[in-house]
């Protein structure tokens, strides 16, 4: 075995080993191989593309709703269609777009950022993607066969219970949750293991890029939050519906408020596990484009950690109207307001970094500035919602609709678009057009504010949420018409983005390894990265290794190139510990996902299909873990 050696970059012959690495990490052509892929770039990209398609689907649903609400007493959509569409919109955006998109970005980027070749569990990664895809297709199969959910994405019983939602609509929804949660738990597990054990040598905890910190924190949140939604949607709701368990049936001793507590114990962290990765995007963009080390790195990391912790202690602010004791409510007011301290700290640190850096005003920076504008506004209305007396008035009105679109679109989508512009060169090898990017930004920014700002006023003037129409006399029409105009400006922005992605893919400027002069490790390798990411694994000599003197940069040599070998390092200081051979392509993750999916799909119609799911998963896992001679010897 070749010993591991830390070698200065300048002494490296970059070509040696490439041939073996190419062979070891190749994803062969052909359908079967395509279904077997287990490299993180491919799977990450599949997540990103799939989630983006669902963003478009959710966007179309939003436009349909905006058309319906543009006029008073409109009959474009009936109440049944409207209710289906707003439920599908919320469900799609939360479960099929936002979370999977953040996961996809992480699957693609985290191994590059921390300087390794793949995620820790490549096949689990593939399995997670297939589960997500099968769950998403299941929901949309329902949507296109007149079985779309129509009880709201929160599915409060008893409205979602068997008495008031007969048919299969709610079951399709609840079982889709099962799929996406399994997928999210897979990703969380492997992201945690990857960041904890596969970091580049020298990347001690205080050198982890902030975006990787965000993903580590978010992944731990998933581990705690997702089981709660499984309890509420699968255990309580689905079992109440399919086998009559009466967990949440008020007429049989069950409690609908129990469902709300468990659901929001998941539901509030859910929002944060969408926006904490986005905070990581913002940090990466700010530090790279202002070309200075992030000001207040420990404060930023600790603030995100604080956000994550407190996120689990404020679910009751979704339930203030249920008449809970005042003392308890005050606690949740205080904890909800604490979020503003952690978020404020981060905003101040970013502004300080911009202030003292040498900012280049490229498109990603525009999106960060848009983020600051929108997110701060959304955060301030969030402080209002934390206050019980204020919340009781604006709860379940368009004020809340405005608020959470400000924090979710402002807090997650704007950073995400910034991240697309920031990392597109790394993913494709071409830089996106900056001028079109700025047009893209302004359309989205103006469109967003025109759409959602009037909703604050509408809510204060009494317009409740989830209504499919409203009478002319209420006087809500002008603001609604304005919001609809804004929605079409957003659409225009989206089209410009897609065109920019497509045209830059072909005509964009060559990116090279490091188009922005970034300091973190993903910029140390080819754009797009090869399947093995780095010819020689980099070592992290500082928090921003690429900003060190090039003469001081170091890589690790001595790993075998002819198999999928990575370096496992220690938790705290990332000292090299041992070599690990990662598994290669396999069809079994796909088959396991498919076989369990068939059972889970069927379970909506009859309980006994769960046995099919178990048997299918059993067969799949046996195939998956069957010892193979070649691998064992390799």
């Amino acid at each position: 075995m070749t010993p591991l050696v830390a070698t200065p970059v300048r002494e490296i012959d970059d070509v040696r080993g490439r041939h073996d690495l190419e062979n070891a990490w190749r994803n062969p052509a052909g359908l079967l191989s395509w279904l077997s892929v287990a490299t993180h770039q491919a799977i990450g990209m599949r997540y990103i593309v799939t989630a983006f398609i669902f963003l478009l689907a959710g966007g179309v649903e939003a436009l349909l709703m905006r058309i319906q609400l543009a006029k008073a007493d409109n009959t474009f959509l009936g109440p049944d269609k409207y209710n289906e569409i707003f439920t599908t919109h919320g469900t799609t955006m939360m479960f099929l777009f936002a979370v999977p998109m953040m996961e996809g970005m992480a699957i693609y980027l985290v191994p590059l950022l921390i300087g390794t070749r793949n995620v820790a569990f490549p096949r689990l990664n593939a399995f997670g993607y297939w589960m997500y895809l099968f769950g998403a297709l299941f929901l949309y199969f329902g949507v296109f066969t007149n079985t779309a959910p129509d009880m709201g994405w929160f599915a409060y019983p008893p409205l979602s219970g068997p008495q008031f939602s007969p048919g299969k609509r709610v079951d399709f929804w609840a079982q889709m949750i099962t799929f996406t949660e399994i997928s999210a738990l897979c990703v969380a597990t492997e992201i945690i293991a990857t960041i904890v054990k596969l970091r580049a040598p020298g990347m001690s905890l205080n050198r982890i890029p902030i975006y990787a910190w965000s993903m580590l924190i978010q992944s731990f949140m998933i581990l705690f939050a997702m089981p709660a939604v499984m309890v509420s949607s699968t255990v309580m709701l689905l079992n109440d519906r399919t086998i009559g368990t009466h967990f949440v049936n008020p007429w049989a001793g069950g409690d609908p408020l129990l469902y709300q507590h468990v659901f929001w114990f998941f539901g509030h962290p859910e929002v944060y596990l969408i926006f904490i990765p986005a905070l990581g995007f913002v940090s990466a963009i700010v530090e790279t484009h202002s070309r200075r080390a992030m000001f207040g790195y420990p404060a930023l990391v600790l603030s995100q950690l604080a956000n994550a912790f407190v996120a689990f202690g404020l679910w009751v602010h979704h339930m203030f109207a249920t008449d809970l004791p005042q003392m308890g409510e005050s606690y949740f007011t205080a904890s909800s307001m604490m979020i503003a301290i952690a978020s404020g700290t981060q905003i101040f640190c970013w502004i300080a970094t911009l202030w003292s850096g040498r900012v280049k005003m490229r498109t990603p920076v525009y999106f960060v500035l848009g983020f600051i504008f929108i997110f701060v506004l959304g955060g301030l209305t969030g402080v209002m919602l934390a206050s019980v007396p204020l919340d009781l008035q604006v709860h379940d009105t368009f004020f809340v609709v405005a608020h959470f679109h400000y924090v979710l679109i402002g807090g997650a989508l704007f950073p995400l678009f910034g991240a697309f512009y920031h990392w597109y060169p790394k993913m494709t090898g071409r830089v996106m057009d900056d001028f079109i990017g700025k047009i893209n930004f302004w359309l989205l920014f103006i469109g967003f504010n025109v759409t959602f700002f009037p909703m604050h006023i509408l809510g204060l003037h009494g317009m409740t949420r989830r209504i499919y129409t409203y009478p002319q006399e209420m006087g809500w029409e002008p603001m609604n018409a304005l919001a609809t105009v804004g929605a079409f400006i957003i659409l225009l922005g989206g089209i410009v983005f897609i065109l920019n992605v497509i045209s830059s893919r072909r005509h964009g400027a060559e990116a090279g390894a490091n188009p922005w002069d970034g300091g973190t490790l993903e910029w140390a390798t080819d754009s797009p990265p090869r399947n093995y990411n780095f010819v020689n694994l980099p070592a992290a000599t500082s928090r921003y290794p690429l900003w060190n003197d090039p003469k001081e940069r170091v890589v690790v040599t001595g790993l075998r190139d002819d198999r999928r070998e990575v370096l496992v390092t220690t938790l705290m200081d990332a000292e090299p510990h041992h070599r690990l051979v990662l598994p290669s392509s396999s069809i079994w993750p796909f088959l396991t996902a498919l076989l369990s999916a068939i059972g889970l799909w069927g379970s909506v119609f009859h309980f006994s299909w769960y046995y099919v799911a178990m048997l299918g998963a059993f067969i799949g896992l046996v195939g998956w873990f069957w010892p193979r001679r070649r691998e064992a010897e390799a």
Binding site: P79, D80, N83, M151, G152, L159, Q163, P256, L257, R291, R292, G296, A321, T322, D323, Q326, T333, M337, M338, A340, I341, G344, T345, F348, I351, A352, W355, S356, G357, R358, K360, L369, I372, F373, V376, V383, M384, S387, V388, P389, L390, D391, L392, Q393, V394, H395, D396, I457, L460, H461, G462, T464, R466, I467, T469, E473, M474, W476, E477, W547
Partner: protein, 338 residues
């Protein structure tokens, strides 16, 4: 009304019929409004400060440095870092202090609102949510003084009223923004809220918790009367239905009693005693029908009876195929129930 409300109204002068949290008509809603004004102005200031800081960070002149070719990575001086540390630290401290102030203001207001509850001269109105209408009952120890009505709550000005809420089916939420915030109506639970009007007027309210197909058409009216008017209204509501006085009205009553109307609706003083739909004993005295969906006119009522599913698709009122010649007497009779 403060300048704040003026500003908001300016932004939305078209709001003709009011359901606005910014036009409080009672002490509870006034507390909300005062607190909201505080939050609004403080947060507006914070927002502008953050924007100004960001703009300043971007336009700051780098003392001539930007003339030089940009270095690969910029390392700010220690002095700059120290300055930033103090600024950011100060910003965080200010955030904490402001939030503490807002927290105290919020909890104090919440306490003040809850102190308006349980007053001696309070009266109790039971409101039960149904898909998609409101059952209303004025509780009284004396059974002969109990008023039952639907979708319209009359209250005397200046007297606190306890809304004792629950639901017969799914979760609804009682909300009349000019009087107070929301309170969910939850099956198998009882929730409480106190409202009070400080001047006569009609205040619109609406179900605020998504409750199914016709959530949009589940509104109600609270009518604040002078104590004298309220007493008059109450006495009239306590009477059984007006006996039909003309042959047409008698014919109308017979039509009502002949059809399946009676299985769901009740009219005191007749054999109609259904309990699952709004009580019609004094239908003619209300000013809307179908839970605030339509103004209560003969034309609207006729349209509603002939085809309720067209006006409010999915609602639970049956289409009874009332014969054309029977419709006019039926509507006349129902509208005579003052």
């Amino acid at each position: 009304m403060s300048r704040l409300s003026g500003g908001f109204l300016l932004a939305s002068t078209a709001f003709a019929r009011s359901q606005s949290a910014l036009e409080p008509a009672g002490p509870q809603a006034a507390h909300f409004f005062r607190l909201f004004s505080w939050f609004f102005w403080i947060e507006a200031a914070i927002f502008l400060i953050v924007l100004a800081l960001t703009a300043w960070a971007l336009t700051r002149r780098h003392r001539g440095i930007e003339q030089e070719p940009l270095e690969r990575v910029h390392i700010p001086s220690e002095e700059t870092e120290k300055k930033l540390l103090w600024t950011v630290g100060g910003g965080i401290l200010a955030t904490v202090l402001i939030l503490l102030g807002l927290l105290v203001a919020s909890v104090t207001t919440g306490k003040a609102i809850s102190e308006l509850a349980n007053q001696k001269n309070g009266m109790v109105v039971e409101v039960v949510g149904n898909q998609w209408w409101w059952y209303v009952r004025y509780l009284n120890d004396d059974a002969s003084q109990i008023v039952v009505t639907a979708n319209e709550i009359h209250i005397p000005v200046g007297r606190p009223v306890r809304i004792r809420g629950t639901s017969n089916d799914v979760i609804h939420s009682f909300w009349v923004p000019e009087l107070n915030g929301k309170r969910d109506l939850i099956p198998s639970r009882i929730t409480d809220e106190w409202i009070e009007a400080d001047h006569p007027g009609r205040f619109r309210g609406q179900c605020a918790e998504f409750c199914g197909m016709q959530h949009a058409h589940m509104s109600l009216w609270v009518v604040a009367d002078t104590p004298g008017d309220f007493e008059k209204w109450k006495q009239r509501q306590l009477q059984p239905a007006v006996e039909p006085s003309t042959p047409e009205l008698i014919a109308g009553r017979d039509v009502f009693l002949k059809y399946a109307c009676v299985y769901c609706h009740s009219i005191t003083g007749t054999t109609a005693a259904g309990q699952v739909a709004p009580d019609l004993t004094h239908l003619g005295s209300r000013f809307t029908i179908a839970a605030g969906t339509l103004p209560n006119t003969k034309g609207n009522l006729a349209g509603w009876i002939v085809d309720p599913q067209n006006i409010k698709p999915g609602n639970h009122m049956a289409t009874l195929n009332v014969k054309a010649e029977e419709l006019q007497p039926l509507v006349d009779y129902l509208e005579s129930l003052q």
